[in-house]
Structures are given as structure tokens and as C-alpha cells.
């Protein structure tokens, strides 16, 4: 009966207008957030989806200095000084900077392939394990049972299969086949020689080198390495945001070479972020305008029902009990909007979800976007409640 009194002057058209405007605004916000989450979730897990990593720009960058004529004449690779490394580390975009450590001893590897023994001089490099993009339990070295796990760049295998082998002299090999072939590695230096078994445990799309575990590199250096370690000639940098234009700007200014493709696609990622922010802002503005419509409608409704509300309070109804009816209405409308917007999000997400999967992207869970929707509508509802209570208490006083 109380509702019979209070519902007078409620305009279904005003509620419908608010609901529609909020629905449009909230759906735009949720779609923008979900699309960004779907694309950036791949960016956040390098190695799991190479296509995504390539598109968004790598989180790690490998840099070196250009080789000059002086380096050629001196026989030494251009190296980074401690001051240069410290300067890079101090950049705001540099989350972590580590050096490639190269083998300072002789490495000779041999394999049995197609009944023939192939042997070649090699080199090893190591980087901290956190930069290894291959998830394998074999990435350890035990001096008691020494077997060297090796990760080689995917590009090396590609070069072999489509360059060297394709010339007709050698068979092409797959990653699985190459991994199963036992290798013998002979290390020599400081007058010592040792031959150890080795095995390829993975192929990296991130590291353009022949990588061994740091623990092995340390062990081998103690036995075969020189007493005068060379300064690092390559650095690996982890960045929080690979699309940050400040990275390219700094590296270009210092004339450092960056391994791999240029950062043009990283810029695309930056553009995507900016676009997402713009769309979220547009959705947010529409939602805010819709909220404005609701606030005006509430003012109008309470003003029209001012006399009835005053009489109810005169009869002894508390402002809270009067406000509760309007609060329930606002909460029900907002809940309906949230459900519809969530449904629309899940429906419209199908438009890009499958195409993204086809290009090796791993779309994110919609839970985060849905949680954002719940949070936005919770804030909107709290605002509604505060406005309703304020208006009714004003009349009650």
C-alpha cells in the first residue's frame, strides 16, 4: 500500500530512458575492457602465444652495440660498461636488466645424423633463468651427473631446414627429432678438456642464441674459463610496457641495436591502449549522462511526491522506510541493466573471440570485465541510494 502511494508520478518512460542510456554506456565500457583484456592477456604471457607476442611487441628486449671497424681490427666485440648498464637500469621503463654471459672457452659439439657424424665449433650463452621462455623441468645442471641442457633459437632451426638442408645435401629435421638426438660437447680451456653429453630441451622464439643454464655456465667457467672475464656485449631488458615509446626513443638516442623486429607493432599496442581508454571514456561519459538523467528523474519524482512523502512521515513512517521503496526500484533497474549489459558483452564477444583464437591469441576470462560491470553498477547504485536518501530526509526534516 505504501508503494501504491509512492509509485504515483513514477514515469516508466523516464526509467526506460535511463535504463537504455546506462545500458549503452555500460555495454561500451565492458566491451572495451574485455577486448583490451583479450588482446593484452596474450601480451602478458610471452611464449604461450607467439603470434600475440609478435603483435604486441616483446616484453623483453635484447640490445647490443653496433660493430665498428675498430672492433673488427681489435678482434673484440663492442661491450657495455658498468656505467652504461647502470644508466639503462635507471630508466623508468626498465624493470630488470641482465647481461648475456658468453662462454670464454672452446666449445665443440658433435651429433650422429643420418649415419654421419656432424661436428662443429659452437658457443654458449646464458641469461638468468627468469628470461627463459621454455617451461621445462630439464633446465637444470647437476655436476654429479653432468648433462648439458641446451635451448637453441627457433630461427637457427629454420635457417638449417629452409636454407642449409633445402640445398639438397642434408635432411630437414623437426624440433622433436632434433631434441631426441644425443649430442656430445667437448669443452676445452686452461689446458683442460672434458666431453659431456648434451641435449636440446627447447626452441626459443625470444632468445636468439644457444642458451645453457647459468649454473652450467658458472661450473664450466671455473674449470675452463679465463681469469679475465669479458664485459657483456649483449643485454636483455625486461620492460613493464613494451609499447612505451620512451624505450625506442632512448635506445635510438644511444645508438643501440635491438634484436628482432622493430617496435612498430608495439606502437600498435600503444594505439590499442589509447583507443581502449578513449572508448572506455566515451562509455563512461554516456553512463554518467545516464546517471544525470536518473538524478533529474529522482529530483522530479520526489518533488512531485513531496506532499505524499511529507504526509507519510507525518503519519510516522521513517524517511528510511519511505526511501527503501525507491532504493529497491533503483537497485532493481540497475541490476537489470547489469544483467543485460553482461549478456550483451558475452554475446558480442563472440564477434572477436574466435578470430583471435585463429591467430593464436588466448582471450582472457570475461570475469574481470563482469566484475568491473558489477563494481560500476554498485557505485551507480550507491550514488542513487545517497541521492534518494538525501532528498527524502530533506523533506522529513
Amino acid at each position: 500500500m505504501l508503494w501504491t502511494v509512492l509509485k504515483r508520478n513514477i514515469s516508466p518512460w523516464q526509467i526506460a530512458g535511463y535504463a537504455l542510456a546506462t545500458l549503452v554506456g555500460l555495454t561500451i565500457v565492458l566491451i572495451a575492457l574485455q577486448f583490451y583484456a583479450d588482446v593484452s592477456s596474450t601480451l602478458g604471457s610471452p611464449g604461450t602465444s607467439p603470434a600475440g607476442v609478435e603483435l604486441m611487441g616483446k616484453r623483453t628486449k635484447v640490445i647490443s652495440k653496433p660493430v665498428s671497424l675498430r672492433n673488427t681490427l681489435s678482434g673484440k666485440a663492442p661491450a657495455f660498461s658498468a656505467e652504461e648498464i647502470a644508466a639503462i637500469s635507471s630508466q623508468p621503463w626498465a624493470a630488470d636488466v641482465s647481461a648475456f654471459r658468453a662462454s670464454d672457452y672452446s666449445v665443440w659439439a658433435g651429433i650422429e645424423l643420418g649415419g654421419r657424424t656432424l661436428s662443429t665449433a659452437l658457443f654458449f650463452e646464458s641469461v638468468p633463468d627468469r628470461y627463459i621462455d621454455i617451461d621445462t623441468p630439464d633446465w637444470t645442471f647437476d655436476p654429479e651427473h653432468p648433462e648439458i641442457p641446451v635451448i637453441i633459437a627457433k630461427d637457427y632451426l629454420t635457417l638449417y631446414n629452409f636454407g642449409f638442408a633445402a640445398s639438397g645435401r642434408m635432411p630437414a629435421v623437426s624440433e622433436a627429432m632434433l631434441s631426441s638426438i644425443p649430442m656430445q660437447v667437448t669443452l676445452s680451456g686452461r689446458g683442460r678438456t672434458a666431453t659431456l653429453p648434451a641435449r636440446i630441451v627447447g626452441f626459443s622464439s625470444q632468445l636468439n642464441t644457444i642458451a645453457v643454464p647459468e649454473s652450467f655456465m658458472e661450473w664450466a667457467h671455473e674449470r675452463f674459463g679465463s681469469d679475465m672475464p669479458e664485459p657483456p656485449s649483449r643485454l636483455i631488458i625486461a620492460t613493464a610496457d613494451p609499447s612505451d615509446p620512451a624505450i625506442d626513443k632512448y635506445l635510438s638516442a644511444q645508438a643501440y641495436d635491438v634484436a628482432g623486429p622493430s617496435n612498430d607493432l608495439g606502437r600498435a599496442s600503444r594505439f590499442l591502449t589509447v583507443l581502449t581508454v578513449v572508448i572506455v571514456c566515451i562509455g563512461g561519459i554516456i553512463t554518467l549522462l545516464a546517471l544525470g538523467i536518473l538524478v533529474l528523474s529522482l529530483y522530479l519524482l520526489v518533488q512531485k511526491n513531496r506532499r505524499d512523502i511529507a504526509v507519510l512521515v507525518m503519519l510516522g513512517f521513517t524517511p528510511g522506510s519511505v526511501a527503501r521503496r525507491y532504493v529497491c526500484l533503483a537497485a532493481a533497474v540497475n541490476a537489470g541493466i547489469l544483467v543485460l549489459a553482461s549478456g550483451l558483452l558475452l554475446l558480442l564477444r563472440g564477434v572477436w573471440e574466435e578470430p583471435l583464437r585463429e591467430i593464436d591469441f588466448a582471450p582472457a576470462s570475461p570475469l574481470v570485465s563482469l566484475f568491473c560491470g558489477v563494481a560500476i553498477m554498485a557505485v551507480v547504485t550507491v550514488l542513487n541510494v545517497a541521492i534518494i536518501r538525501r532528498l527524502i530526509w530533506k523533506i522529513a526534516k
Binding site: 502511494v5 507525518m314 521513517t318 524517511p319
Partner: protein, 224 residues
């Protein structure tokens, strides 16, 4: 405030609108304005005055609807003007009943629904009891009619029944029978007297010449 209210005390009360007339003959002659006056629970008071002397203001001040007055009004020592909205709402559903002069009924509701609305707050009477009360005041046939379709006299009786749908220590009746004939005045007075006596409550009724006919033996006449 959940205990019974025993007395309502006015000390030097004057509506602000009369501030410039405080020395005028009508104000000086008033037994209410600028006086010390106590209404006691269990007694009946008939406050009589000519138009414009502030009868409705007096009821609104005591009921806590307005505070545009000087002086103090206390309910057992508690200043009405200092009560919170929550305290006033509790007071209005448990201790003070009120029949306003302009009745304040909801025209979109039927007579019985107007009363049931108040009763939903207090849960004081059954619907059958409410219908019997309406019947006793000659409104049995009109109980389910929209208030908008009732005459002023009929609305006054509906508002009276609504005022009686709660426990109270005092009931404030602002010109409750101004549009009723003598027979209906008597019926209303009987109903108010029965309800007040059953609760041991006080009655304060205002009038401009057509007073509610309350029992003379416990009636105090007050000139506003």
C-alpha cells in the same frame, strides 16, 4: 522515548509570526501563548479560538512538524524541537496521534486503505475492526470508495479513524468536527472518548466554535 508520556508542557511558546504582536490584547489574553501550560495524560482539553490565532500551529508544534516558535515545548521534559527525525517518527506511531485540520488523506487510495496504510505501521487494529469503526461513523458503504470521491465531512471521519489506529498517550485533534453535524459530532466524540479512556490517554481538541463534544466532567476549556 518508549515510556508513556505523562505531560506536555509549554513554556513561553509563541509562533514567530506573532512576535511583533506579543503585547497585543489577544496574545495577552491567550492561556496558551507566552504562558506556562501543562496538558496531562488522562485529561481532555478543548482549545477554542477564533480563526488565525494559531490552533493548527499549536498542534504542529506539539507534534513536531514545525519549529518556527519561541519558547519550549516538552514531552515529559524532552524538548520536542531537539528530537531527531527517528525519535519523532517513533513518537508519532506510539505516543502521539494526530488528526490534522487538512486531513492529509491520500486521494488515490480508498477510505479503508488510507486507514490500513497507517495501521500497517502500527499493526494496532484488524481490518474488520477498522471497518466496524467506519460503520459506526456511518461510512460502511463508503469504506471502499476513493477518498477523492468523499465529502469533506466523510473525509474528516476517515481521518479520525486513521488517527485512532495506533497506541497513544495524547491525541491531537485539529478542528475534527468542523464539517460535521451534531449527530456525527457526538458519534466521533464517543469514539475518541472510548479510545482515550481505554488507553488512559489525554485528548487535545481545537475548534472555532464547533467543538468536539467531549465529556464535561473531565474537560478543561482553554482559550487560545
Amino acid at each position: 522515548m518508549d515510556k508513556t508520556i505523562e505531560r506536555i508542557t509549554l513554556r513561553g511558546v509563541l509562533p514567530r509570526v506573532f512576535a511583533a504582536e506579543r503585547s497585543s490584547a489577544p496574545i495577552r489574553a491567550s492561556q496558551v501563548w507566552l504562558a506556562e501550560l501543562t496538558f496531562e495524560r488522562g485529561r481532555f482539553y478543548s482549545v477554542n479560538a477564533s480563526s488565525g490565532m494559531g490552533k493548527t500551529s499549536l498542534c504542529s508544534f506539539i507534534y513536531g512538524l514545525r519549529d518556527d516558535y519561541e519558547g519550549t515545548i516538552e514531552l515529559d521534559g524532552a524538548d520536542v524541537s531537539r528530537m531527531t527525525v527517528g525519535e519523532r517518527c517513533r513518537l508519532r506511531s506510539r505516543h502521539l496521534a494526530y488528526l490534522p485540520q487538512d486531513l492529509d488523506l491520500f486521494p488515490q487510495l480508498s477510505a479503508v486503505d488510507n486507514i490500513l496504510l497507517k495501521n500497517s505501521l502500527t499493526d494496532y487494529r484488524s481490518e474488520a475492526e477498522i471497518r466496524r469503526m467506519l460503520g459506526r461513523l456511518g461510512l460502511e458503504e463508503r469504506a471502499d470508495s476513493l477518498v477523492a470521491h468523499l465529502s469533506v465531512g466523510q473525509r474528516q471521519r476517515v481521518a479520525l479513524v486513521r488517527a485512532l489506529c495506533q497506541p497513544f498517550d495524547f491525541i491531537l485533534l485539529d478542528e475534527p468536527v468542523s464539517h460535521l453535524d451534531a449527530a456525527n459530532n457526538r458519534l466521533c466524540a464517543e469514539m475518541v472518548t472510548e479510545a482515550a479512556r481505554s488507553l488512559g490517554a489525554g485528548v487535545i481538541a481545537t475548534s472555532v466554535g464547533n467543538p468536539l463534544v467531549l465529556p464535561a466532567e473531565s474537560l478543561t476549556e482553554i482559550k487560545l
